[in-house]
Structure formats: structure tokens, C-alpha cells
């Protein structure tokens, strides 16, 4: 057990911090779909030109192939610098690209991987269907091989950024006679093809994006490092907020209220524990090749913690929590937005099943 950064790692941290301070976008991220795409692709290109694209990708595919500790340092500094999230590039960088690296053909790798790293392609995910959510293997979209083509028929849903994506990683059933978990094929779908109709859905928070959490790498512990840093910053700014807004008695600041004070302290402790859990996951994965199922513990903990913290923010705001515009909108919008945190990328219920069965060995 040891937690001391080597001098090389400290220097690496300084380098990352300096680069991010000098290069992260200064302008406020746009909210319109077309502008989002342009903004996020440009930021990805800037990271590529600076040599910071694909930090977890192997070097032979154009990535940096950093050690887990360096990835962790990158994510910590990235979140600390408040650099913009992956946004519409999340599927390409965290899921589509890594899937190609493991299973793609030489041609597929040569074509797609550089485009992803350079910020030239947006990917979306075509996994869920109206009748196949948690039970993903129940998906019905058919893929029939017809000569050089696969003819796809069916409907996907919650295809975040589907309206601005160039490619989709699409799961289709190519062998209807095979058992449920077999007979599925992962295909790359060109989103500009005719015959694809994308209908935007509004989420409960009013956005059009129901983003799969950017959590690939959660198995290795690095995926939640940035989330953890951001959440720690959120709690600290919530403490500041509680010092400025009036508390339930209408006289003293909210932080003077016993109950709110205790809940803020608990939030601080829980965010610290989240970070330590990521550290432990990284330590475990430094020792073993294949990541264990423990990553689901962090995912579950994070999803519910961020919801508790936003519920606390609502209680601190009191009547100010009625509005979504203005200075406190970050909290009220976040409150609504984070209902996805226990749903997207695997519901809390499915995560509990995984923990019960694969971590504790309970019967199915």
C-alpha cells in the first residue's frame, strides 16, 4: 500500500495541467446540435494536434497507450481544468473505436481509427430498442446478409447524437434461429445512408441527448476518475452556495441549518470514498490483465451519489429550486438530468444483479 507519485508522474501532471490551461476552449459550449458537433470535433482535433488524443488507446493505433496511473492523472487534471466532456464523441472514442481495436478488420481499423482520433467522425450507439432495454439480448432488429450488403430492418431508441452522427455501432440479429445471446452481430452503419429516419426524443430535462455515460474504462477504474473530480468540485460549490442562500428558517444561511450541514458533510465523505474506490480499482487492474466485475460497484455508487447530491442542492435552494433559468439552473437542470445516472449504460437494478452474481457469487 502506497500513494506517492513518482517524480516522472509529477512532471507529467504539470505538463498536462499546463497544456490544458493553455489550450482548453475558452468559449462557452454551444447548445444547438450542429454547433455542438462543430465545437466538439474542433476540440478533439486540438487534442490530437497536441498529442493528447486516445490516451488509453494503444500506440499502434495512434493512441498514447498511457499507463493506468497516467490516464488517471490526465482525467483528474482534465476535470479539474473544467475542460469540455467528450460530448458527441463519447461513443466513437470510448466504445466504437476500442471495439474496432479488438475485433475490427485491418481495413476497418485503418479507415476509422484515425478519423475518430482526429475528430473527423461522430459515432452513435444503436443498441437499445423499444422492447430491449435492460434485456438487450431481446433485441429484434434484423440484419439480413444480401451479397455485399446487410439489409437492416427495425427500430432503435435512445440513440444519443443519432441525428448528428456519421456512423453507428449497430447491434442486429443476423441468426434468428440461434439462442438469444448468440446470433447477434455488431456492424458499422453509415448514418448518411437513405432509409434511416432519425426522430429526436426530448428527455425529462428537455434535452435531446440521453447520453450513454462516458464510462468505458469504468472496469479499469479510470472511467470514473473525471466524474469523481467533477462531483467533488460540485460538492464544494454546493457548500459555497449553502453559505450564500438563505436557509429554511428564512434568516440564517442554509449551511447553518443542522440537517443541511450534516448532509453536506456526508456528501463530502461519500465523494472522497468514490475517489478511493477508483484508486483501488486502478490498483487492482495494475495487477491483473482482465478487469473484474467490481467496476459495477463504482458505477452503481456514482449513479446514486450524484442523484443524492442534486437532491441536496434542491433542498438547499428551497424556493429558488422552482426555476431552471438564472444562476441556479445548473443545479435544477442537473437534478433533472441526473435521473439518467441510474438508468443509462445499465440500470442500477441490472448493476445490482451483476454485483450479486459476479462479485458475490449468488445464484442466478
Amino acid at each position: 500500500m502506497d500513494w506517492q507519485y513518482s517524480q516522472e508522474d509529477q512532471l507529467f501532471r504539470d505538463e498536462v495541467r499546463t497544456w490544458l490551461a493553455e489550450n482548453k476552449p475558452r468559449e462557452i459550449a454551444p447548445t444547438e446540435n450542429g454547433d455542438i458537433r462543430q465545437f466538439e470535433l474542433a476540440w478533439q482535433r486540438k487534442q490530437f494536434d497536441g498529442g493528447w488524443a486516445g490516451i488509453s488507446w494503444p500506440a499502434e493505433y495512434g493512441g498514447r497507450g498511457f499507463s493506468l496511473v497516467r490516464q488517471m492523472i490526465w482525467f483528474e487534471e482534465y476535470a479539474q481544468a473544467d475542460a469540455p466532456g467528450l460530448g458527441c464523441l463519447v461513443v466513437a472514442i470510448n466504445h466504437g473505436g476500442p471495439t474496432l481495436i479488438v475485433r475490427g478488420s485491418g481495413d476497418q481499423k485503418a479507415f476509422h481509427l484515425p478519423r475518430i482520433l482526429k475528430g473527423e467522425a461522430v459515432w452513435c450507439q444503436g443498441f437499445s430498442e423499444p422492447n430491449a432495454g435492460s434485456d438487450l439480448a431481446g433485441l429484434k432488429t434484423r440484419g439480413e446478409v444480401d451479397g455485399e450488403y446487410i439489409v437492416v430492418t427495425g427500430q432503435k431508441i435512445w440513440t444519443t447524437f443519432g441525428d448528428i452522427a456519421d456512423y453507428q455501432e449497430l447491434l442486429v440479429r443476423t441468426d434468428p434461429k440461434a439462442p438469444k445471446h448468440k446470433g447477434l452481430t455488431w456492424v458499422i452503419c453509415d448514418m448518411h445512408l437513405p432509409g434511416i429516419e432519425a426522430r429526436p426524443i426530448r428527455t425529462m430535462s428537455g434535452h435531446q441527448h440521453f447520453s450513454a455515460m462516458s464510462t468505458l474504462g469504468f472496469e479499469r477504474g479510470t472511467g470514473y476518475i473525471a466524474h469523481g473530480v467533477k462531483l467533488a468540485r460540485s460538492v464544494e460549490s454546493l457548500i459555497e452556495l449553502a453559505r450564500t442562500v438563505r436557509g429554511p428558517d428564512g434568516k440564517r444561511p442554509a449551511i447553518k441549518d443542522d440537517e443541511l450541514h450534516c448532509r453536506l458533510a456526508t456528501a463530502r465523505a461519500e465523494v472522497a470514498a468514490l475517489r478511493s474506490m477508483c484508486y483501488a480499482a486502478i490498483s487492482r487492474n495494475e495487477r491483473s490483465e482482465a478487469p473484474g466485475p467490481e467496476g459495477s460497484i463504482i458505477a452503481l455508487y456514482f449513479g446514486e451519489l450524484i442523484q443524492r447530491i442534486h437532491r441536496l442542492a434542491m433542498d438547499i435552494l428551497g424556493p429558488l429550486a422552482m426555476t431552471r433559468d438564472g444562476a441556479y439552473g445548473i443545479w435544477t437542470n442537473g437534478y433533472l438530468e441526473n435521473f439518467r445516472s441510474s438508468i443509462a449504460g445499465g440500470t442500477s437494478e441490472i448493476r445490482r444483479n451483476i454485483i450479486g452474481e459476479r462479485v458475490l457469487g449468488l445464484p442466478r
Binding site: D2, C262, A265, T266, A269, A272, A280, L360, L362
Partner: protein, 341 residues
């Protein structure tokens, strides 16, 4: 090095303790009443492993290890529900060592003297006053008692407590007496304004709570694998499975934060106080939650058989630390930690 897991050497320490305890200290031993049970039979074996002097320098007979190793050992002590007297004796050795009473420290380390906790029944503001009432925890075989809190720590002869009254303990695996302190000349005394002793108690109680949370998780999930109702193991039902999964989440959060806190304390980092208080709060929540869930998952057997020992011990250990509200306040008083260092 960036590594939160025990090293090979640390794991050897843990293994030697846990193999001793799995033979000598099955939880079922607690079914016997504390007077009938001979908890002291383990005392010399534990002393021979060096546990009482693990974090003490070698010149006084200690092992020369750190709070990190102590934390790992006390996690095992929690798992096997060893009496809090093992902790109070370890702390007594530290107090004696810090104030230069090396001869006394050596006796504690060698297992030749036993110190029990004397917990104040009313809050202390500085040194205890004469006639102040204390609860003596499992002090039947104790030569000394320790009083820790209010920025000071002391070791007293057990004979300095009078008007001893035997009480019925909530945690019936230990004995409980109330008594008044009638002499004000401790055999060892340290000013603890910097909180070195206080934080050691905090971290090691936290470690025991981690062990309790883990043992309760394991006991509940092992039972859920074999107990059948409606023709199948109850662990197949999501109501049970998810409760076990939550136990795993709580235990993992508690363990990881406690390891990190111990390392920050060992390395004297500025966020040591923050991390230790956070670890205690997380471990307390885990131990409370998992001990209750363990009883519930055992159903009727939970209400009548061994699961309740963990719940009762959790309640006792809480009292060593005192009010949770003060821990929350202490956490809020600290600056937000800088993780880059």
C-alpha cells in the same frame, strides 16, 4: 508507487492474523456468556504475532510498522469480533511510548498487561474530573484503563476507578461496568492537541467497522446461497440479491476510503484529518447498514442466532468515537483536499 492494495509483506501479516483467528475465534464462540468464555486465551498468541506493538518502534519491543499495517490487522479483529480490549491495549502502548514510559509500553506490547477502555458517560472538557463516571468496556482482566478525548490521552490503574457497578451490556459479548474515577494520577499521560492518539483510535475503530461490514456482507451472501425457500436459494430473489449487492457496495466504499485515510495519516499529509473523518463516516454507515441487513436476510435465524453479534458490536464501537455529529462537523471544518500530491 500508486497502489492501494496490500503488499506481499502486508498480506503476510494479515494472513497470519486471520489464520490464527479463524481457528481460535469463530463468531459462534460468542454464544457463551462473556464470563464463561475465555477470550484471554488468545491474548498471548496475538501478542506473539506482534499485534500490540505493530506500530511501535523496535527498541521498545514493537515491530516498527505503521498505521497502515495496524489498520489491516484491526480490520481482521473487527471481522472476528475481538474484544475492544485488544484496541485499548494497543493504544495504551502508544500512549506510554509517547510519554517515555517505555517499561509500561513494553509490558503492553509483550501481552503482559491489559488495558480496557474507560469511556466517559458525560462529555469531558479537558482532563476528567474526580468522581466523573465512566463505562469500563470488557475490563474483567484489565490492569489499566485508558481515557482518550478532549485533546488528551491517559492510562490509569484499574484500581483508580471506584463505585464499580456491573451493568447489563447492549453488546453481550463483552462485560460492562460503570465506575467513578477517584484518583487523578495517571501512569501515562500525553497532551493530544495534535490528535495523534485520537486519530489512531478513530482509524482503528474505523478499520474494525470495515471488518464488521465485510463479515456481515459475507455472512449474509453465504446464507443466501444455501438457504432455500419456495424451492430455490433465497439469493436468486432480487429482493435478497440486491440487499447483498448493496452490502458489497457499502463494504467496498468503507474499505477503500479507510486504506486511503491510513496512508494519508502515515505520510502526514495535510488532508489526513479530512480523510480519516470521511473514512469513519463511510465505515459507520456501512457497518450499521450491513449488520442490520445481515439480520434481516437471516430472517428468524437472524433474530435468534449469531448475526446480531455484529450489530451489537457496531453500536459499542460507535461509543468509543462519540457523537457522529462531531465527526460530521470536523469534516466540514477541513479544507477540501488537494489530490494532486
Amino acid at each position: 508507487m500508486i497502489d492501494l492494495l496490500p503488499s506481499v509483506e502486508q498480506q503476510q501479516i494479515v494472513d497470519s492474523v486471520s489464520s490464527l483467528l479463524s481457528d481460535a475465534a469463530p463468531v459462534s464462540r460468542l454464544r457463551k456468556k462473556s464470563g464463561v468464555r475465555d477470550e484471554m486465551s488468545m491474548w498471548s498468541s496475538i501478542a506473539n504475532l506482534g499485534c500490540f506493538g505493530l506500530g511501535m518502534p523496535e527498541v521498545v519491543g514493537g515491530v516498527g510498522a505503521t498505521i497502515a499495517e495496524e489498520m489491516l490487522v484491526f480490520r481482521e479483529f473487527g471481522r472476528f469480533l475481538l474484544s475492544p480490549t485488544f484496541l485499548s491495549t494497543t493504544i495504551a502502548a502508544h500512549i506510554a511510548g509517547m510519554c517515555g514510559k517505555q517499561e509500561i509500553a513494553t509490558r503492553f506490547i509483550a501481552g503482559d498487561a491489559v488495558a480496557a477502555f474507560a469511556l466517559p458517560m458525560t462529555e469531558m472538557n479537558g482532563d476528567p474530573t474526580l468522581e466523573q463516571e465512566f463505562a469500563l468496556i470488557d475490563s474483567d482482566n484489565a490492569d489499566y484503563c485508558i481515557i482518550v478525548g478532549a485533546g488528551r490521552a491517559s492510562v490509569h490503574h484499574v484500581g483508580d476507578f471506584a463505585a464499580v457497578c456491573v451493568r447489563q451490556p447492549l453488546d453481550d459479548a463483552v462485560s460492562l461496568k460503570t465506575a467513578s474515577l477517584v484518583a487523578s494520577n495517571p501512569v501515562a499521560y500525553v497532551d493530544d492537541k495534535k490528535g495523534q492518539i485520537g486519530r489512531k483510535v478513530l482509524l482503528l475503530v474505523t478499520a474494525m467497522m470495515v471488518g464488521i461490514a465485510e463479515a456481515s456482507r459475507d455472512m449474509a451472501s453465504n446464507y443466501a446461497k444455501v438457504r432455500e425457500q419456495f424451492g430455490k436459494p433465497i439469493g436468486t430473489f432480487q429482493a435478497i440479491k440486491h440487499s447483498c449487492a448493496d452490502a458489497a457496495v457499502h463494504a467496498e466504499a468503507a474499505l477503500c476510503q479507510t486504506i486511503y485515510a491510513a496512508l494519508r495519516e502515515r505520510d502526514r499529509r495535510p488532508d489526513a484529518i479530512f480523510q480519516a473523518n470521511a473514512a469513519y463516516l463511510i465505515a459507520l454507515a456501512a457497518a450499521r447498514r450491513n449488520t442490520s441487513a445481515n439480520i434481516q436476510i437471516h430472517g428468524g435465524f437472524g433474530f435468534t442466532a449469531d448475526a446480531h453479534f455484529f450489530l451489537k458490536r457496531c453500536n459499542l464501537l460507535e461509543q468509543i468515537i462519540g457523537s457522529t455529529r462531531l465527526r460530521l462537523a470536523a469534516l466540514m471544518d477541513e479544507k477540501s483536499p488537494d489530490y494532486a500530491g
